[in-house]
Symmetry: C2
Subunit: 283 residues, 2 copies
């Protein structure tokens, strides 16, 4: 029988088949409470959770911290084992010993999502997001997960991954989880390990600046807030600081429903990022 | 239970699950016996065959024949219905009416396979193969096929697609099918429609030159054959003509086991390609 189908919807309906309930939490290890929150979410929502631990060379620039990035597999396993529900549910930690298990010899393919190239982290980390999308895609394929979990701290990353999934019709659901902060408000990051106590205090400059801009945006509107941002950027420790439409990272306009205020700062040789979302419904 | 897995092989074994038997034959329509051979292969090997018909704008350059490319859906359906076994087996023809069914609004992702950029068709068709890999990948995802069928006439395309599948661990088997020729030896192509009888005769220049090089390669070796190729290239209708390692499109060397002799020629405004494989075991 030959049947003609002329719309995607009908085709998808025709092909629909059941999927196993697998959750993927891709990480580079050195797990903190931010990661553990992702893992708990996945355990709650899936029969099997796969946590991958892979420090992905393709997303580091030549002068970045690939070599010194903290690798703490035993502690990571302990942390996962300490999650209550990990006892009842199946959790796999995939930590490949060989890089060829992710990038086979002669590997030469790239997945690129265009349109975010000169924005936020893409500006001073050329190629970074191509490295992220490529490895994340490979993990999607390897795990064949139904859901994958990402933290909102890497906001631009979550946007680019969602775009990739939509564009390329990758059959996976992307779940986003709130930023987890320490008691002072500093966003948790594996790179916080590089900081001494005084630097951790110093790093709050970023968090506080973002908070200040958020308050200003809600109270005084975009024009004053952009001026305030430009003043803050006089502090040369900032790599960037910007107020953008959270939907597409374009400048805010009248149709914008949600803003993201995102920044990066250098504390010594450590590059840290943070962001917050601001609902604009109330304007 | 938390289980640590440290190799891809073990992970894949763990995750392995059954797949439906679906074959995909991606085409741009205007089906000839070459396409029908692919479809028959798929019908033989799968419970369900999905033939896609989509003239993919992303693989055409700005000065190429996207607009005039032949669109013959009714004849294509008749041709598929005339395949004997299509009566017993399920065959779907997916011919989307709307381009958004393949590229949703705002689409901005690309899959690139590097390493073949200045070779054969990539030279005079910049971006062509990115367009091919991107649409083929989307079709893979849409159909969730176990096997996909491609003709060896587009030899470089088959190599790039196989590389993409290997690099990105796309769970699909790529099946290659021999070139189908008319009684004079001309490789079947939808673009042959553009030729009048005299031009079809003229187009045999390409086929005959490839044949001559193959005979020379087997009889006289690579050095003489490259000289012969350079002589043939004096004919400015040739876009390219080359003798390369069929495994990687590098120049032939002592380890080469198979050569591909591939060429492109302009007949009037029509660009035609052809190739042949030469086993080098006998040297």
């Amino acid at each position: 029988m030959v049947e003609l189908i002329t719309s995607r919807e009908k085709l998808v309906n025709y092909l629909e088949s059941s999927q196993l309930s697998r959750g993927l939490v891709p990480t580079m290890g050195n797990l903190h409470q931010g990661h553990l929150t992702l893992i708990k979410e996945s355990i709650n929502e899936n029969d099997l959770t796969v946590v991958t631990i892979f420090v992905n060379p393709k997303q580091f620039g030549p002068n970045e911290d690939f070599d010194k990035y903290p690798r703490t597999l035993e502690a990571d396993l302990d942390a996962i084992r300490s999650i209550d529900k990990a006892l009842d549910k199946n959790v796999i930690v995939f930590a490949p010993e060989k890089i060829e298990d992710i990038y086979p010899e002669g590997f030469s393919s790239t997945i690129s999502v265009h349109g975010f190239d000169q924005i936020l982290c893409a500006k001073d980390r050329p190629g970074h997001f191509d490295g992220v999308t490529t490895v994340v895609y490979i993990l999607f394929n390897l795990i064949k997960a139904r859901r994958a979990y990402f933290g909102l701290k890497d906001f631009q990353q979550t946007l680019i991954i969602r775009k990739m999934v939509k564009d390329l019709m990758i059959p996976i659901e992307i779940k986003l989880v709130e930023i987890v902060r320490d008691s002072n408000g500093l966003a948790l990051s594996s790179r916080n390990k590089y900081l001494d106590l005084k630097q951790k205090e110093e790093a709050l400059t970023l968090t506080k600046s973002i908070k200040k801009l958020k308050d200003s945006l809600l109270k005084s509107g975009i024009k004053d807030t952009i001026k305030m941002k430009d003043d803050i950027l006089e502090d040369k420790r900032f790599v960037y600081l910007d107020i953008l439409d959270a939907n597409n990272l374009h400048p805010l306009d009248d149709r914008s429903k949600e803003a993201v205020i995102a920044g990066a700062i250098m504390i010594g040789t450590t590059r840290l990022i943070d962001n917050t979302l601001v609902s604009l419904n109330v304007r």
